[in-house]
Amino acid sequence: MELTQGSREPLLPRLQEAFGARILASHSECGDETIVVERDGMLEVFQQLRDRPEFAFNFLMDVTAADYLGKTPRFELVCHLYSLAHGHRLRVKVGVPEEDPIVSSLTPVWRSANWLEREVWDMFGIRFSGHPDLRRILLYEEFVGHPLRKDYPVNKRQPLVPERDPIKNDWKF
């Protein structure tokens, strides 16, 4: 494959042309081009971002989320795409409301979505419809809550095996 070089041509105008009203907002702070797309029909947008030759985003580099507690929608799903052919990056965000935290899974488009989405479910409690295997990944199934939510206390503990008091130990030596 060809050696990729960073493309300098801005993406946002072309994206606006291609997707029009489906893009709710966009910015390119610090040179990171970002679009916010509607939750309904997001899968089709991602599909086209991968398949259209002018975008050709063949890498789903990262899927994560951020919790903006107190705002609506509360969560933002954040996906980072990369195109090997054009050498450009794109951040695609999807707003996710607190009362109905479910979005379409990207697993039909990229296989990397499988584990990355499991992590988002684990950490933020956002569900992915159409995901083949939505289990917790870094934490254990018995874990209650989703720790990267802003209302999860940082010092809360829920060990699988009860912790011992290190002072009152029963060591024999």
């Binding site: 990729t4 960073g6 610090c30 890498f59 580099m61 951020a66 919790d67 951040r91 990355l116 999860y152």
Partner: protein, 401 residues
């Protein structure tokens, strides 16, 4: 003879699939990970990889302190190459701040990143070879790693938990003899590499265990988001240092070694060739190392000199504000990727304009690669799990965060 009473009836062991749990503590897997296997004889018919045993809530802890207090946590991500994590995080925050560090600092970051890459590949290849019985190589590469840890210690004061970068620079300049020491270490490493090359590259046993094992096609690698040596072993030319140069990587002349088949042997060769390229970059950077400061000169970002802290009220206040409140990073979000030893290491950070990160996300290359491992192992032999897992080079600290 008829079946004795109480024994199960007529089970043909050749018909049965066996379920086997390998790990989480297995002597041949460096890193705590569990493979839930379904076996048909010795053939793996299904494999579910379980990670998370080393989860330490890096991203949650990152939201608790100031921007610079995240740096020590980044050491503990990929502990085989801590400098690269330090640099990646610092570059992400600097991108959001809109600053560029002085040339000397950029070169120092490049030198240490490449030394880290060397150490990381030495870990991967040394351990991988040891697991296949080539213990001598393991010892030789451990010796080479030791040289790099000595340099880490001389430069940052710590062997592994280096915490060397800060937002806007690095903690300290190189010691005066750093160049000499690094050159001596590289010369020694080159000698060791010649020995390892003789011991491994055409070794019948090693080649038989590695070639055509753990094959991943280009399409699969791209779809799984696999980057780094694993992707390049399939022949895809993607290296962040070349595609999107950061920290003056465009000043250096180096090649990106590529494989063709995407099997374990290609991964081994790619890593091995990358070590030589890293050494070339280090030598060029030492040659051209510019003079000058190693931090930006903005008092809102870097700590004042100690004599100002103790000698003037402005210096003291400046120090106090930076320590207690942290660097004020403008509101916004940014993603910055560097080429980690295992692939694209990206930081996505969100600032609400205060002195503390609102969200710190790391895109760990080996977590993504581990996502593909179950698929790669399927259809292979149980004994091939060890070399394939070894070449993925999962680092628990980074995978589980």
């Amino acid at each position: 003879m008829a079946n004795p009473a109480g024994l199960p009836q007529e089970v043909d062991p050749a018909e049965e699939t066996m379920e086997l749990q390998m790990g989480p503590s297995h002597p041949a897997s460096h890193g705590t990970v569990k493979f839930n296997l379904k076996l048909d004889g010795e053939v793996v018919t299904a494999c579910d990889v379980e990670v998370g045993y080393l989860h330490r809530a890096f991203e949650k802890m990152g939201e608790q302190g100031t921007w610079n207090q995240v740096v020590p946590y980044t050491d503990r991500l990929n502990y085989a190459s801590p400098f690269i994590n330090n640099v990646a995080y610092a570059l992400a925050v600097e991108k959001l701040l809109g600053i560029e560090v002085p040339p000397r600092c950029q070169y120092i970051r490049v030198i240490l990143s490449e030394l880290s890459r060397l150490a990381d590949h030495e870990t991967c290849l040394g351990m991988g070879a040891t697991e296949l019985g080539a213990m001598t190589v393991g010892f030789l590469l451990n010796e080479a790693r030791e040289l790099i840890y000595d340099i880490s210690e001389a430069v940052s004061g710590a062997r592994v938990t280096v915490s060397y970068t800060r937002v806007g620079g690095v903690t300290a300049d190189f010691p005066p003899d750093a160049g000499e020491r690094i050159r001596a270490a590289l010369a020694h490493t080159r000698g060791i590499m010649v020995d390892c090359d003789k011991l491994l590259t055409r070794n019948r046993i090693f080649v038989d265990r590695m070639q055509n094992v753990g094959v991943m096609s280009q399409e699969e690698a791209v779809s799984y988001g696999v980057t780094g040596p694993l992707l390049r072993a399939t022949g895809v030319n993607y290296d962040v240092r070349k595609a999107h140069p950061y920290s003056s990587y465009d000043h250096f002349d180096f090649e990106v070694p590529l494989g063709s088949k995407g099997d374990n042997y290609d991964r081994f060769l790619c890593r091995f060739a990358e070590m030589e390229q890293s050494m070339r970059i280090i030598e060029q950077a030492l040659e051209k190392l510019p003079d000058g400061p190693v931090r930006v000169s903005d008092p809102r970002i870097v700590l004042p000199e100690k004599r100002d802290v103790y000698g003037s009220i402005e210096g003291l206040m400046n120090h106090f504000k930076l320590i207690m409140e942290g660097v004020k990073v403008p509101r916004g979000e940014v993603y910055h990727a560097v080429e980690g030893a295992n692939g694209e290491l990206g930081f996505y950070i969100v600032s609400d304009g205060s002195g503390r990160p609102y969200r710190v996300r790391v895109r760990p290359p080996c977590f993504v690669a581990m996502g593909a491992l179950g698929h790669i192992l399927q259809g292979g032999m149980i004994s091939d799990i060890i070399p394939t897992f070894g070449m993925i080079n999962m680092i628990g600290g980074e995978c589980d965060r």
